[in-house]
């Protein structure tokens, strides 16, 4: 009997919560419809703020792509002994393929290596003409998958291969990787700090804009309190309104960013590519867009909550 009563109460509570949410949605939509001007200002401010954030985000992902492109140049080079047999080479190739961290392996024969070297020397290649034999060793050039271009992983692969029969030496640009890792740590920290400061600024601007909307309806809040509305009941429609504003503003900002991106890519791309060495300028990926929209909704939510907090602390 007691259990039935509890279940019944639980369902009544669920129904009441659902009804409150529906009511808050209806009120929020009515308010947006009625306060068109103020809503346009709030949505516009959010759109501009989120566009600024989006520009930062675009810069971040393109710089990150540049860093990843640079990371792609990190390779493990396995130099082979001169007297290595064809079967030993095949054995070694199988050994290398065993590593799951490896993206691509290419074999460079002694002859190809010499040609490559000569090409690099360009007009000074004549200095190699006096050689009796080819001093450049054959090698395997190994490209490592993105997540494994760390000092530890590269070192482990290099050490693993160094002991294999037929291998003369293994090189993996230890100092370069070390510098690259340090750069990436500072890059991420720096971008995180800038992003954090920007997000705080956005929150400040958005919460103040929403505050304007809340202040314009102080009378309404007062009347709600007069008839015994709880703070949750009062907050609900404002918070949902803030979330809708955040969502709409962010969608507008993404559209603005996309238009801006298309203009830049079509008109300035060749010069930008030349200066920065980008192979392509990226737009925000789909998961980034979802992240931006969720952030916009969240900013609207937090902005409303901050604006309402102080007002609802007052007794009347």
């Amino acid at each position: 009997m007691a259990c039935q009563l509890l279940t019944c109460r639980f369902f009544i509570n669920i129904v009441n919560i659902f009804r409150s949410i529906v009511y808050a949605f209806q009120e929020a939509l009515t308010s947006i419809r009625v306060n068109k001007g103020l809503n346009a200002i709030t949505i516009g401010t959010i759109a501009i703020s989120m566009t600024l954030f989006g520009i930062f985000f675009l810069i971040f992902i393109n710089l990150q792509k540049m860093a990843i492109d640079l990371g792609g140049k990190i390779k493990v080079i396995v130099y082979l002994k001169d007297n290595i047999s064809q079967s030993q080479i095949e054995h070694l190739r199988r050994n290398i393929a065993f590593y799951k961290e490896i993206e691509k392996v290419s074999y460079v024969s002694k002859e190809d290596a010499l040609i490559n070297f000569k090409n690099k020397l360009m007009d000074k290649k004549a200095i190699l003409d006096g050689l009796d034999s080819n001093p450049i060793p054959a090698s395997f050039i190994i490209e490592v998958k993105e997540g494994f271009r760390t000092l530890d992983d590269m070192g482990r692969i290099a050490n693993g291969l160094a002991g294999v029969e037929g291998v003369e030496e293994v090189e993996y640009g230890r100092e370069w990787i070390d510098r690259f890792e340090t750069f990436m740590v500072f890059f991420k920290l720096g971008m995180g700090a800038v992003g954090g400061v920007l997000a705080m600024g956005l929150l400040f601007i958005i919460s103040n804009t929403i505050k304007l909307s809340v202040y314009s309806r102080l009378d309404e809040i007062e009347i709600m309190k007069l008839v015994g509305a709880t703070n949750h009941f009062i907050k609900g429609p404002f918070i949902i309104e803030g979330m809708i504003q955040g969502f709409t503003g962010t969608i507008i900002s993404i559209m603005l960013l996309f238009i801006g991106y298309e203009i830049i890519v079509s008109k300035l791309s060749p010069s930008v590519i030349f200066v920065f060495g980008f192979s392509d300028i990226l737009f925000i990926p789909s998961n980034g867009i979802i992240w931006l929209v969720v952030s916009g909704i969240f900013l609207g939510f937090i902005g409303s909550l901050i604006s309402l907090g102080r007002i609802l602390k007052v007794r009347t």
């Binding site: 008839v227 015994g228 007794r315």
Partner: protein, 217 residues
């Protein structure tokens, strides 16, 4: 029903109420009179929990109101209907929605709500104007909407602050008769007013406030 013991209230250096002690019985009709600035509104606000008294104690229905937690105040207010001189209606909601609002706040279901709003509209004689916005009504009609909103939750206490302040004689009498009928149904009514005409036509106990001090007439 309502008991105040040595209640005082300051706004900065300005003493608004000084050592007010008052006992209002259940079902009583009480006037609070006095000149402007005498503290009538502050006294009603203290009973309503709109402002907190600096000193003293107050019991309403046996509850020590001054010790209520902020989160309990909305529930306490649902036992009280309030009416103001400036009506305090939601300008963007229709007459119907203004009255229904008080029911929605306490979570009354739509079916029951419609019935109650309809009864409240009939009681104040505004059924035919239910779809209009408050600003398209006369002052008297707006006040009747405010009274309907105050009464719809069947509160045990009704507080009215200068409810006839902006209204002419005939309309003031109509408004007072609405409070009279609520009182006859058992509600305790406290009306703050300096309108001698309504006091004369609907005589009840009077507390006079003078420079924040209470004098029983």
């Amino acid at each position: 029903m309502i008991q105040l013991y040595h209640v005082s209230k300051n706004y900065g250096n300005y003493q608004v109420l000084t050592d007010i002690s008052l006992n209002v019985e259940k079902g009583e009709f009480l006037y609070i009179t006095g000149p402007s600035g005498a503290g009538k509104t502050t006294l009603l606000n203290i009973i309503f929990c709109g402002v907190k008294a600096d000193q003293g104690q107050m019991l309403v229905n046996g509850k020590n109101v001054l010790k209520l937690k902020n989160s309990d105040i909305p529930y306490y207010r649902r036992e009280i209907g309030v009416v103001f001189q400036d009506f305090k209606l939601l300008p963007r909601k229709t007459v119907y929605d203004n009255i229904a609002f008080a029911q929605r706040v306490i979570g009354v279901r739509n079916k029951k709500l419609k019935k109650k709003v309809w009864m409240a509209l009939k009681m104040v004689g505004l059924s035919h104007k239910k779809d209009l916005l408050p600003l398209s009504l006369s002052g008297g009609e707006q006040q009747r909407v405010a009274i309907a909103r105050a009464l719809i939750n069947e509160p045990s206490i009704i507080l009215a602050d200068e409810p006839t302040g902006n209204l002419d004689y005939d309309v003031s009498m109509e408004i007072l008769s609405l409070f009279e009928s609520a009182n006859s149904r058992g509600a305790t009514v406290i009306v703050a007013t300096h309108n001698r005409e309504i006091i004369k036509n609907f005589p009840h106990r009077i507390i006079r406030l003078n420079y924040g001090k209470a004098v029983e007439n």
